[in-house]
Symmetry: D2
Subunit: 156 residues, 4 copies
């Protein structure tokens, strides 16, 4: 049944949409009325929701453990947002994200929002891997191998 | 560029998805992490957001004036939600909606959420048309004609 | 330390605020920027959030079990909202709620939002008590006694 | 009528709550159920909403122009969040914020969330002042004087 829905975009899809390398993974969606604030701008929290949703698909695609409420789990240590230009109601946008670098127990991701091939918003996050006791835990080599292979991430 | 995104579903799409007549218009989407509450259920407000988003597409498709912050405008008088079964993270759902009846200045809509052809949630709304002064105003015949033709709505 | 914060309002507080009997329990708060939609109205979902927050305080005060993600638990079967007049940014509002009637395994609540002693919004909910297996379960007499004593609820 | 509600906290209130200088302005509130995500943590967007709400009160208190959808207006250029420890349901928290530095047309704020006198979350923002044409515009001296006087801000 050919019902359309949100599907991760491949590097080829991204290039066709005017999004340059090294961005290798993306999701496409449309701005909803409920994501606007009283000034009719996309509210700050909505961007974080987009990046959060992106991470869930990215984790699955890259073989990283899912978000969980119990240990072992992955937690966010830092988040950043930088606003370059406005995103408007009904804009169709693409969220891209990639791991840029990793250390023993943490890694750094960058995100971007694109409308018509133009980057409107930048994001960043630092994520930490915790073990059953809640202590910092080394990233599995299977994860970091994917970060390197697919995203060109570097060991920091 | 064949990037998939949210597109209104036709009656044929809906029948293929196991959704019976008279539902004639729908939108498909996927439950996001950010729509869950602390009990890992889709929160009540998320359903209202889905119906709100549906109305915007429905209004456009049926030639009803857009939501606006200034008069003339359309306002919600009532909303109802009935929970039949749970909707879960990552569920792909379809929201359907139709106008079931109309009066001189107001009309009644029904909504439903479907997962795998099963209705999980029912919704309802009463909408009122206001003129430049904020007074109730007769529904344009072009709107009610569409409500009758496409949704089988009846004059109440 | 006299730091002010949200505290449940007593029947006496409510009467002073111009809210009539039989409303017996309330919470006061102020409309936040983030609760407005792009038309600068309080969005529908925000009202449901207010009532949800009210229920948590009400449950605690009336000795009803807390919201839980696991069985036994209380679930919402229906919610309704009726909009009487607008609530605006920075309005200080009071949410009141009471149980109006109960059956063997479920009960019906009514809610209202008040600004300057005027009811702006009405709400309703039907809640069901589920046991460890997820089956409907009789309401404990301690709950229904409180519903009768404090809210004047009737057996339906 | 002594109904309690959210009121800006003075430096004296903050010191009593164990929050050190130079924090000079704060708001107190309580974590709501609807601010939790499916892992029962306060979701990222909720923190941004707290800081946004803080800014509105801060702007009013410091004589900075209000948020507006039309020019002249103030826009956010950057936001950052750093998570130090968890904030939980029903925690009573204080949000503090201050301007740390300013340039000709922009200024930098820092925020913090405190529970029982412990800083749980840090935030930051860069704000830009735009004139009627949407161009960057010098900060009025009345604003920067307040930033210096009340917050100890420095010219960058």
């Amino acid at each position: 049944m050919p019902l359309p829905f949100i599907t991760p975009l491949t590097p080829e899809n991204l290039r066709q949409a005017g999004i340059p390398a090294p961005w290798a993974f993306g999701l496409q969606d449309q701005v909803r009325f409920g994501e606007l604030d009283a000034l009719a701008h996309v509210n700050n929290g909505a961007y974080l929701g987009w990046f959060e949703n992106f991470r869930i698909h990215y984790f699955r695609e890259y073989g990283v453990d899912e978000y969980r409420g119990v240990f072992p789990r992955i937690v966010l240590r830092q988040i950043g947002l930088e606003f370059l230009s406005e995103v408007r109601l009904h804009d169709i946008y693409i969220v891209t994200g990639r791991t840029v670098s990793f250390r023993r127990t943490s890694w750094a991701m960058e995100y971007a929002v694109w409308v018509d091939g133009v980057m409107t918003t930048k994001g960043s996050a630092v994520l930490v891997n915790l073990d059953q006791t809640g202590a910092k835990s080394a990233l599995p080599p299977a994860w970091t191998a994917k970060f390197v292979e697919r995203d060109g991430a570097v060991q920091a």
